[in-house]
Symmetry: C2
Subunit: 564 residues, 2 copies
């Protein structure tokens, strides 16, 4: 028999005292979008009832607002660069009590094993971490993750308890065109997140007809409206780079929160530390003029409904006691955060086994691997578009000397390389990039979407080799070097993606690498964000992987030599 349920019913009836009663607050009913004057009775981590109740403990919420914990409808834990325990310490005070994560980055680096590790590492947090099985590893045939995730891999992942569906189907052209490989993945799950940037009209109808019922890539109200009409949940995203909230709030005003949920997708640790998490979206929506009850629904009931999280997202009997007490309906920074009825206790450090730490494997190498033989003539050049992850496809003639092409600080031309780092194959893609404006030295990162090989941009081969060597020795991270000297670094030894340090250290190191790269002459706002997306072969126009330059518009590898 279900002893905890029997006890919960006894508390609901008033026959036994609750563990805790929250008294005197205005309690949000997410179902009717009203504020109820009621006590909330909590027992064994569950809400037993709303009404008049007695408990062994009482929390006085008079003059304050009681709402469900916030749920992030779609996010990547890896973007926080924090280990999951530190991520939980960071977001819980902002009221986030559950997230639905796509472990896409760890899956590129460590395959299903990495996802299983992340599942285990998040099992006992005072933060519910649900997962969607990463559907697109590799992102394209031009990228080299450690291994491909097959339909069999996904099928196995989907059997785990907290894996609730198939993560964003980024190969939207494949889905729309009925590629057998993508239809085989779709056949595995009923619940599938979408990812369909700028897809409209018949293509969007096809994407929805495939059974994909959400999207977080809408940038305009028209895009959002078309998704809602096609039966897709609109997940409004406010990431660090892609910020869509303001543009899409008119849809929330027009249609209400019934089919709209909030998500962060990718938020940098600096962003969360400075501005908060899902709560910042509620705050901004209310400031825009959305009724607080509707904005709160987008952060609570809506994500729970979309993902079928039946016991989350409401303050009602039979729901988990994941609750916030808010001092006002403007700041949305909670006074109290209860997870399963209790304030978060000390969170133990996540266990990181050796195989998760030692992921940067590069064969013997030196400056010579970055050498570009060149006899003159025009070359393709990746052009940075400040503030965006798309690039321009440029043509310019590099400096050359002694049969070799060189970087040229005067014209802002740097060398770029992507070094395969999972299997130590020695495969290197080489090219040129304009926009970092380095005067000397090199910057490198093992955070390099989506395969997360090493991406390095530099003004000379010695600096580039030193940067890559440093990352190989430290197990990954972000590094700024000048010649043989390491100017600054943010070590990310966990899969080359995550730090194992506390937030403060990560922020300090992060500021240091930014200062160092400025010292080298770079004036971009977020140089490492740009760097991290230069290897992503599915975002236009010209990108570089370990296989070479990719013309994304034509979706083919192209030579460094430009034809004209």
């Amino acid at each position: 028999m279900d002893a905890p349920l029997a006890k919960r019913l006894a508390v609901a009836r008033g026959d036994e005292p609750a563990d805790l009663v929250i008294r005197g607050g205005k309690v949000l009913s997410v179902f009717t979008r009203e504020w109820l004057e009621a006590d909330v009775a909590i027992v064994d981590g569950w809400i037993a009832g709303l009404g008049e109740y007695e408990g062994r403990e009482t929390l006085d919420a008079a003059g304050r607002w009681v709402v469900p914990g916030f749920i992030d409808a779609h996010m990547h834990l890896e973007s926080s660069k924090l280990l999951v325990d530190e991520f939980a310490r960071l977001v819980l005070p902002f009221g986030t009590t559950a997230v639905v994560a796509d472990p896409h980055e760890i899956a590129n680096v460590l395959g299903t094993d990495g996802v299983h590790w992340l599942l285990d590492a998040t099992a006992n947090l005072p933060l519910d971490v649900y997962f969607m099985a990463s559907s697109c590893v590799p992102a394209s045939q031009f990228e080299s993750p450690r291994r491909e995730l097959t339909p069999g891999d996904l099928d196995a992942l989907l059997r785990r308890r907290r894996v609730i569906g198939l993560a964003e189907m980024m190969n939207f052209p494949g889905v729309i065109n009925g590629a057998p490989s993508e239809l085989a993945k779709l056949a595995l799950a009923e619940h599938v997140d979408g990812h369909a940037p700028a897809v409209l009209g018949r293509s969007l109808q096809a994407y929805a007809a495939a059974g994909i019922r959400s999207d977080h890539e809408a940038y305009t109200p028209d895009e959002g409206r078309e998704r809602l009409r096609a039966g897709m949940w609109l997940l409004i995203r406010e990431g660090s780079a892609a910020r869509n909230l303001q543009a899409l709030l008119p849809l929330l005003a027009e249609y209400g929160p019934g089919r709209i949920a909030f998500c962060t997708d990718d938020r940098e640790p600096e962003h969360i530390a400075a501005d908060g998490h899902i709560n910042s979206m509620v705050r901004d929506a209310v400031a825009y003029g959305i009724p607080p009850e509707a904005a709160l629904a987008c952060a609570t009931l809506s994500p729970a409904l979309w993902h079928g999280l039946a016991h989350l997202g409401a303050v009602a009997p039979g729901y988990h006691a994941d609750l916030l007490v808010l001092p006002d309906l403007e700041s949305f920074v909670p006074d109290v955060v209860l997870k399963r009825g209790s304030p978060a206790a000390e969170i133990p450090e996540a266990d990181v086994p050796d195989w998760v730490r030692h992921t940067v494997r590069i064969g013997a190498f030196g400056p010579e691997m970055f050498r570009i033989p060149w006899e003159g003539g025009p070359a393709r050049v990746i052009g940075i578009v400040p503030g965006q992850i798309v690039t321009d496809s440029l043509v310019d003639e590099p400096l050359h000397r002694a049969g070799e092409a060189l970087a040229d600080p005067e014209r802002g031309l740097a060398k770029i390389a992507v070094v395969e780092r999972h299997l130590g194959t020695g495969r290197v893609g080489l090219g040129f990039v304009r926009g970092f404006d380095l005067q000397r030295g090199a910057i490198a990162s093992t955070v390099a979407h989506d395969a997360h090989n090493v991406v390095v941009v530099g003004m000379n081969d010695a600096s580039m080799a030193a940067a890559v060597r440093r990352l190989a020795n430290r197990g990954g991270g972000i590094v700024v070097v000048d010649g043989a000297e390491v100017l600054a670094e943010l070590p990310l030894p966990v899969a080359g993606l995550l730090s194992d340090a506390p937030l403060d250290e990560v922020l300090t190191a992060s500021h240091a690498v930014l200062a160092a790269v400025r010292e080298l002459g770079c004036t971009l706002d977020s140089p490492f964000q740009h760097l991290a997306f230069l290897a992503l072969s599915v975002i236009p126009s010209l990108k570089l992987t370990d296989h070479g330059l990719v013309d994304v518009d034509k979706f083919e590898l192209v030579p460094l030599e430009a034809s004209s």
Copy 2:
């Protein structure tokens, strides 16, 4: 690979023609509650896309409205007294394309076998019939169905494809009080329908805390409001006896259709034939002033969401092409009904095996079994409350002669008996009832909630015996006799609950039995509805089962002799 999906995507892209295009209509988006000007492209029974499309066939919907097929959120097929094929023929023209049925009556008569038969009999209808596993057989320990349904039985039923949850938990006192038997049932399913008449306050909190998230028993706006706030879906019922629509429409006006769905629960065939089915609720809601888009949502998307029917309830890509074309937004009688993209073809007759037909088993009996030895003094008398299924608990002194109590037409006192009819045990409960005002003869029925034993009310033992004998010989039904003569009858040979005749014959026979009972002196509007609920031991105040008189308020068997 999923060949039909590949084809659907090709049609959605416009690369292949649709099977059928519905052109020029205003198409309801249930998600945004707007009317879209769009073609609907249909292929292989699915909606491929909305937009501009070409098809091998075209349906001109200019000037008309295209909406999803209606879904009945909670109903009992047995109340229609029709076999499932005839039920489908009746409701499809009214636009009902899916129902969620609780096979509670057939389960009382034929156990899980009966439910399996009904599942098989509904497998190939052009009407989707989903089932909830009947949770309360028997309704109480005072009733004798053929057999009890154990948690094991329910667990097995829940594994069948179209069994989607646990049916209405009618034993609400058991749930609220944490009875282990009921908690064991609740542990079997995540999806559970409620049944909580007049339950309020802490009791309702306990009922909801048990995980029960719907109720169709609200009679007043206050009851409905409390259910919504407690996180329960409000299923607004408009049955033949219990009509709650008008009373609850203010809640739909106030809160919108987000957590509100329509259902019929129990509708007599006369009612459906004369007034329609779910469409009548939409019509009446719109007449009341509910926007058509909201009323339609309660009949389409809302029931689909509550029951998790992911491909029903919307006109959108990736949904089943269950569509109606409406000539106006007043009558809600469709011009066209498409099921999986086609008008319903001829529906074959359901197969009814012998074991489903021969369910009335009564041992040797005669008039003597209705004899009530009596030496004078007051007796408990069931008092009919016209138009309601509750009864009064009365006391009166019956006529008695030669040591035997008799019916008394002058004082409106009739004899009543409930005869166990599943196992032929010979068990009979005896009593008196006031309110039918029969002057002579007897009426009897094998429709007698919930155990569906034979209930017979008569003015003399010979007529009562003749009525019961007739039902035993015909395999069940409703009969009106006078002495040895059968005045009229509605045969219900299928489990003693359903006719195997066409609707017209059922209506004709139904009118005939009503005329015959009027001839015997009865003036009640719906005498057989009253008769059918006199054996239901969970509705106050005084009821009769084959075990004897039940004081429902005290929930115990009581003797016929009244104490005072």
